[in-house]
Amino acid sequence: MSLKDVLTPFTAWKRIAKEPVTVIDPFNDRPGADRYRGFHQNDVEKCIGCGTCEAICENEAIDMVPFKDPISGDSGLRPSLDYGRCCWCALCVDVCTTNSLKLSNEYTWITTDPEDFRFTPGVDKKSWDENDKGWVKPEPNYEFYNTQRVEMEHLHPEERVDSFIEMVKGYSHEQALAEADRCVECGICIATCPAHMGIPEYIKAIRNEDLEEGLRILYETNPLPEICGRICTHKCETVCSIGYKGDPLSIRWLKRYIADQVPSERYQSILNTNDINNNGKRIAIIGSGPAGLSAAHYLALMGYQCTIFEQYEKAGGMMRYGIPEYRLPYDQIDKDIDYILSLGVEIKYNTRVGRDITLDQLSQDFDAVFSGTGLHLGRSTGIEGSDNEHVYYSTDLLRQITEGKDIEVAEHIVVIGGGNVAMDITRSLARMQKVKYGKVNIIATSLEKEENMPADREEVVESREEGAVLMPGWAPQRIEIQHGRPTGLHVVKCNSLFDDTGRFNPQCDMEVKNFFEGSMIVQSIGQGMDLSYVDEKWMEGLSFGPRGRVKTNEYFQTDLEWFFMGGDIIEGPDVIHGIANGHKAAIGIDRYLQNLKD
């Protein structure tokens, strides 16, 4: 021990003149860092209430609480925080699907009431609501799930325009697993799907590689998975929460994956439908489209003996006679329908109600009747020349293509219409032109501008890829007829479709004219229903709502209590609404026959 050891510590005195470093007022003088994880902010307008924040929170500090009435794509719930549990890890911010949630850099909050520390950011106004600093999801390349979807492989346009071979190849095992992995299981899609399918559950089944469980979940709400897995309008994908940061999940293709992978021979054992008790009651179903098949399926499971009356040679309705084979191969339709027939459902083919048997007869022979007759009548533009024999309706042509009839295919064709059916006939005829003439020469024109065309975007893109020329924004005026044959379509520029009150009232500029050359014209501007099979005495018992649709209750029961109606004639038009209607009507019929009341 030296003298130095005694004296050196006193060098600390040299700091006596230094400024003190203590902050006198820590509450007001020091804002948090720019990235500080302070109190929560939520943009409640941007938030869709998906609840992913609630799911990831390890402390269960987040509860989803009602904020407004739920709408499609928005659960109506918003995250509520309990600051007695929160640890400010900000995983909720990082995982937020809409980037609506963030943390401000505010960190002091003094209140006398502990209950205050439970609050709903964005709803309960706080002093830090406008604070623009704090933790936001790091950028770039920082995601908790893959925002890019696994691209579906298609046949090359040049390859597919030669034939009606199915153009979508379907996911492989690895692709399906990768795509299913992207789901955050928020369930926003369930409410939007008309059939309220258990989408997150069947996607989970794919992840768990348990396709049998997946199939069981599909059949709980949808007895046509092969069909829906190909041509569903996938409203679910338009609201998918992970679509806000990237691509929505390919829900439709994943559904198809499950149905494709399970062989039809195993359906009955997987779905446990080998042994159904017949309750002795009989139901007549008019039309074997999605609504009729769906109703028959669920009624058969409940023990009812169902008989479907189908006017054509084969079952499927518009799914078979309206949708081209390259989108929905016939063997896939058969797979779904054969399973429904295996439940004991009977189909009387080539039997048109109203022609071969009357509705009155059905009302006497059966305990209840369900009608899902769909929209089969083509609508005419009514313009000059539209009554020519070379002017067709798309519905007729599509049906005849399915039936294998030899239809006229001209070298130059004009299709009027911008919906999915118009695209279907355009692309079908393009294929036939390619086979017959070696080249495609077809124009599809619509009133709507391209951005407003009712057809799915992919249909528009794929039509172009296959060689069709799309001319949106033109209003048909007159079909030029020479020597008893059309030579083309006169059109004028269409500027707007709806007036200020939202009524359909096209405004055209008559000075801007155009002429689309074509010796065959196809009208595809919508379809109408045909209720001619309803006898006059029963017609009087029905009441009608807007657009001539029959009024039904929530179970699709008409004013005639034994008569139920669903599908495109009531809601839609699309397959998934038909399936949902059929399911609900089946429950309604069961309630009616068992005399159940709410």
């Binding site: 021990m1 994880r37 799911a55 390349n141 920082y142 992840r207």
Partner: protein, 392 residues
């Protein structure tokens, strides 16, 4: 197993099993409980001391005051949810916990972490070490009632926490290193501000040297206190500064380099005295070395780049069946995590191996015998006891 070569004439007799037979009615002995709240450790832990006069004749360590069980909790959380949980395994230095969990998950899931993220991880780990040592080095003198250096160190530590706040969004629980990468690049001007803080540490080092290590009182009390025999290092599993103070080079960064430590030039300090003074001295050198390592990291790390590797969806991330042990060097020594996965989205078993477990139970119990009551805190601090790490 080990015999203490002390004169036991004034100590209680031992039974055949080696337990002390303490007859309190003899009025020769007094039971004195130190803790569970007391200076010297971060967290709660209690020492049951049997004293005669002011001399400790027996010591027993009691844990169980924290009521946590994080390892068990993690078995019920998804891997991403484990990430905010695991940091609490050691409150004073949370970053190694984050690193170990992430590293285990990445190893079992086969994920390659981007280079920039690895450098950022190193930076966070070294900054964490820096802030711990800034308290621990002068804190050793604090246990002998010399609190001045502790105040100096704590001020600089607060500035380092400011840097953490900028980089990670949090001061104490940084939650920065997560499976796949890290949660942010360096903010603008960060390097300069950190360098300013490092300059303060440069000033602090000689000041604290003059204050403590050339202080006759500190020397008198710390030298020769609680000497750990060299052979104990392996027998008890003693790591880090405590091992290096006994002349055994134990530093995972050097012996089993991880991240980019192999690209950093550093040489851990060792000495042979193995007493409280030596352990404190090793930490002073560690602090100096940490500053140097941080400067090297700042100079070598890339400015930009990916901070996170793509991972499967964290909401239901299933890790293939397997097990792994990953270790790193914390300020207290080798710190490891053993993770077992069963192919589900949650860990099957998490086991943390920190030096405090042996340091604060077996070793401390032995070292306290024959020590004065007043030296208890000093001995605990010299072993860098962290009760949350024992009671995990």
């Amino acid at each position: 197993m080990f015999t203490i070569n002390n004169d036991r004439s004034k100590f209680p007799e031992l039974d055949d099993a080696g337990n002390a037979l303490i007859d309190l009615t003899s009025h020769k002995y007094l039971k004195l409980w130190q803790g569970p709240q007391h200076p010297g450790v971060t967290g709660n832990m209690s020492l049951e001391l049997t004293v005669t006069g002011d001399e400790i004749v027996e010591s027993k360590t009691h844990v169980g005051y924290l009521h946590r069980g994080f390892e068990k909790l993690m078995e019920r959380r998804t891997f991403i949810q484990c990430f905010p949980t695991c940091i609490r395994l050691c409150v004073a230095e949370p970053d190694p916990n984050e690193y170990l969990l992430s590293s285990c998950v990445e190893e079992l899931a086969g994920i390659e972490v981007p280079e920039t993220a690895q450098w950022l991880r190193m930076l966070a780990l070294e900054m964490a070490r820096l802030q711990v040592l800034l308290r621990q080095v002068p804190g050793q003198a604090g246990t002998f009632a010399l609190g001045l250096g502790y105040q100096w160190g704590n001020y600089i530590r607060d500035l380092i926490l400011d840097r953490f706040e900028e980089l990670t969004g949090g001061r104490v629980y940084h939650m920065y290193i997560l499976p796949g990468g890290v949660r942010g690049l360096l903010p603008n001007g960060f390097k300069n501000r950190l360098e300013e803080n490092l300059k303060l540490v440069d000033e602090f080092l000689p000041n604290v040297w003059d204050l403590i290590y050339t202080n006759s009182v500190f020397k008198k009390r710390a030298k020769g206190l609680a000497v750990i025999p060299k052979e104990w290092i392996d027998q008890y599993g003693i790591y880090g500064p405590a091992a290096r103070a006994a002349g055994i080079m134990r530093d995972v960064r050097k012996t089993h380099p991880y991240l980019f430590y192999s690209e950093i030039d550093f040489e851990p300090f060792t000495t042979d005295e193995s007493d409280v003074f030596a352990r404190s001295l090793v930490r002073w050198h560690d602090l100096k070395m940490t500053v140097d390592i941080i400067r090297q990291i700042l100079a070598k790390m890339p400015e930009k780049g990916d901070i996170k590797a793509p991972t499967p969806n964290v909401m239901h991330w299933k890790i293939p069946k397997g097990e792994t042990y990953v270790k790193c060097e914390s300020s207290r020594g080798e710190y490891g995590m053993y993770l077992v996965t069963d192919g589900s989205d949650k860990p099957r078993r998490v086991n943390l191996k920190g030096p405090s477990y042996t340091h604060a139970t077996s070793v401390l119990e032995k070292l306290l015998v024959n020590a004065n009551i007043a030296d208890t805190a000093a001995i605990m601090v010299s072993l860098a006891t962290c009760p949350p790490e024992i009671e995990r």
